[in-house]
Assembly symmetry: C2
Homo-oligomer: 334 residues x 2
């Protein structure tokens, strides 16, 4: 683990060398999004907000990665098709392009691969890739947009998830007070936040929570010094590898906008940032922080709330007579 | 009924006298929204998008009156708390300030009265007014906004619904091609749309669908010349009055943006505008339109799609340690 985190530090420091002049710290500022294909981003934005990618016609990407609420749903686990209870806390989509992989267990290599998951997951959007593509192909404005962006008459799930991923890459949150401080504005954060950041480094949080996303760049075991007790059945990476050593190994979540992305941890069991700080210090670092320390560290964490993506609510092109109808309710008999 | 529609015509024509110079027609242009209290509108917008006004923390006003989809959910009936099936088609919120009353049966006098309904309806948002107010009162930014807008330290449901209604009043859709035509731009709509409008008046649609909202200003019986066959149990105004004569009497829906607000009628049984036109002509007017007439009338109806409200996705203030937690899933035993 030490090796991993040293590596992460090295990688993130070399990234910092290319950024604007700033303090030499284990955390680097979030860079603003650079949009190179505005039409693709716009298409991806429509798809992100379009509930017709779900069987019910009710659930969109934005339902569980709500951009009004820090890119999350602020629920312990998500509500899926037919009000099914999701197995794990919905991670924020904000700054998710900075993650080394997607999902808590990293089972998707990138945002494009991730985007296909919920659409076809019976517990989430409950649809299939073919049916989702069929809906889009029945809507002339979408067909035109895919033609314009991908120069193709035939929409496939690859273009759908590529466009969604391209939109998601714009969902970064630069210019947090902490970033302003990193870039030399000493008044950008409070004395408490500064003390909290000092402590954050001293006790070792930066071993895992480093880089521009303050996390998202390694997998670590949840519960090193004490066991993490939960009734959530998620196994983490072990669910993929079958290796007992990978049990409870999860992708370290980003701490960017952590003020907005409650409740915390893979099971969403902790609603208050102060409690989450206390648990992390004890379980991961074997440290019992006192009330003042927790308060300071929380002040630092709140300084990581950046500028939220701002854009107009997208307008979705209407369905046509050819559009397959949503199936919100299963009729047992007709 | 004749009396009612003549009255409606008189009322709407006197309104027209105050508007910009235009053709003397039974339909008048939609006037742009005039915002007199921007802070109140902004607060109402946040509340409209805030799922914390529901028990689950998942359903907001925008869930069923989706402003990306013509202010509706494009479902026959809505999905409510715990995936319950709503009893009736969710009417568009667009231009709803022009309705003579709210809900299909008009049981709410105005938008403010309407806004309180779904929050406390066990089939919809499943919450109570007290609990919703309690959530808002636990969030300092909301407390400050209510203080700024209403000069009060104590939030009640009255301020909540007043702010939502004030936002909803801005959700008008001016400058539709048909409005441009009304205002003298002869090229704004197609020859088909013009023929469709002529037919719309000739066969008598304007008896009920008139005024700026092209409807919304009277209650009429669904199924005059033929019975409307449906398995939807809604009784219309009779559900309020107990009077058999009021059975199937519903508020005439606005035809503004009707292209976007499928499926149609109180039971959402018809997905295609052409079918809806055919049904209406037969059942309400005793007229069987031919294919060309239906196509022309549909072209006219599509010219009623106006400029959709455009604004940035609102950012919601985060919950605090004092905020009551949402209850998305009922646990039978703890």
């Amino acid at each position: 683990m030490l090796k991993l985190s040293v590596l992460a530090l090295t990688v993130s420091m070399s990234v910092a060398a290319f950024a604007a002049p700033q303090k030499n710290e284990p955390i680097q500022p979030i860079e603003p999004a650079v949009v190179t294909d505005a039409a693709k981003v716009e298409l991806g934005k429509q798809l992100f907000f379009d509930p017709r990618l779900s069987k019910s016609g009710f659930i969109s990407c934005n339902s569980c990665h709500n951009l009004s609420m820090g890119g999350s749903d602020n629920l312990p686990s998500s509500i899926g098709h037919n009000w099914q209870e999701g197995p794990i806390n919905s991670p924020t989509v904000l700054n998710s392009s900075l993650n080394l992989a997607q999902f808590w267990d990293g089972r998707a290599a990138d945002l494009q691969e991730q985007a296909g998951g919920p659409i076809a997951n019976p517990m989430e959007m409950g649809f299939t890739h073919d049916l989702a593509v069929g809906v889009l192909a029945s809507i002339p404005q979408y067909v035109q947009s895919f033609q314009d962006v991908y120069n193709t008459d035939t929409i496939t799930i690859n273009e759908v998830t590529d466009a969604i991923a391209e939109f998601e890459k714009t969902l970064v949150t630069p210019n947090a007070p902490f970033d302003q401080w990193l870039q030399g504005n000493d008044d950008a954060i409070s004395a408490d936040a500064k003390a909290g950041y000092k402590l954050f480094k001293e006790v070792g949080c930066t071993a895992c929570h480093n880089g521009p996303a303050v996390g998202g760049n390694s997998f670590q075991k949840m519960g090193l010094f004490e066991e993490y007790v939960t009734d959530n059945p998620a196994e983490g990476v072990a669910g993929l590898t079958g290796d007992d050593l990978d049990r409870f190994k999860f992708k370290v979540p980003t701490l960017r906008n952590v003020e907005l992305t409650y409740p915390y941890f893979h099971d969403g069991a902790y609603w208050n940032l102060e409690e989450a700080v206390d648990v992390m210090a004890r379980l991961q670092l074997g440290r019992k922080l006192d009330e003042e320390q927790i308060s300071q560290m929380t002040a630092f964490l709140k300084s990581l709330t950046g500028e939220q993506p701002s854009f107009a609510v997208p307008m979705l092109p209407p369905s046509t007579a050819a559009t397959p109808r949503p199936v919100p309710f299963e009729k047992l008999a007709e």
